[in-house]
């Protein structure tokens, strides 16, 4: 698939797992950008056009929910699907993420099917 994906997670291991699982789900991008927190993600988004964002919530410096607000405030990544991938699976967190612009929500630990079912439809639409 042409285009660019941005994976945001403070765990380098988890970023690798997300990318490997996307590849297994036949979702691959030409360019991969990685960020360890929300501020690094904003730096990438100000300089690059991306086609999919996979984002953790619970991160140091700037978490995923704050990143969603900043993205909206700065008008970055308009129309780009954002999928939250996180251990925080409570209903208020999900609701807040969706209200702030996330299009999908995957709870860790996830399976290949979770990635397929939550990410692929967003890329087809």
């Amino acid at each position: 698939m042409k285009g660019t994906i941005l994976v945001v997670d403070d765990s380098a291991m988890m970023r690798k797992i997300v990318l490997r699982t996307l590849k297994m789900a036949e979702v691959e991008f030409e360019q991969v950008l990685e960020a360890g927190d929300g501020t690094e993600a904003l730096t990438h988004l100000r300089a690059n056009k991306v086609d999919l964002i996979m984002c953790d919530i619970n991160m140091p410096v700037m978490g995923g929910l704050e990143l969603l607000v900043k993205i909206k405030e700065e008008g970055l990544a308009a129309g780009v699907p954002i999928v939250m991938v996180t251990t925080e699976g409570s209903e208020p967190q999900v609701r807040q993420a969706i209200l702030s612009g996330a299009r999908g929500y995957i709870r860790k630990p996830f399976t290949l099917d979770h990635i397929k079912n939550n990410v692929k439809p967003l890329l087809v639409a």
């Binding site: 403070d10 765990s11 380098a12 291991m13 988890m14 690798k16 797992i17 490997r20 619970n58 991160m59 140091p60 251990t87 925080e88 699976g89 409570s90 209903e91 208020p92 967190q93 709870r107 860790k108 630990p109 996830f110 399976t111």
Partner: protein
Amino acid sequence: MPETMLATRSFLNQEFLSQESVDRADESVFEVFARMLGLPVEVVSPPELTPGVDEERTAIVGYSGAMRGSCEVQMNRGAATAIASAMLGGGPVEDEASLDDAVGEICNMIAGGWKDRVPALSSLCALSPPTVITGRSYKVHMSTPSIKLQRCYRFAGQHLFLTLRREDMGPS
């Protein structure tokens, strides 16, 4: 004290050390191993440890909000290597940063899984990012005495020790 706080406190005091709580811990561990590692895991009695023989790693995730406490996952280097390798699909992983990262993420997912299985905590309790400590000589300090729930698991010939700890709020 508000009624909702009393209800939460009452639940925690009665349930934290219950069999249901233990079952939730086991379910969380089994789920993480099945989904992220593809490794079978079982509950076992803790083996006797030989101090100084093998370096230990401990990951700690803090709970705040409706419950103040921590989830601690402890294992030796062999176990951390097995987990990191499984997380990345079987390739060798030896660098210390990746091993710390893997143990921290396992702890994070177990901590979140247990919390989400407790209805009174799910949306009222937050997790801290994981901290990883190397070595056996450490002590968790809390502002009040704590009570703990401990389990030991075996996978791929290795052991994982889980400790769930919460501040003791006294009798309900």
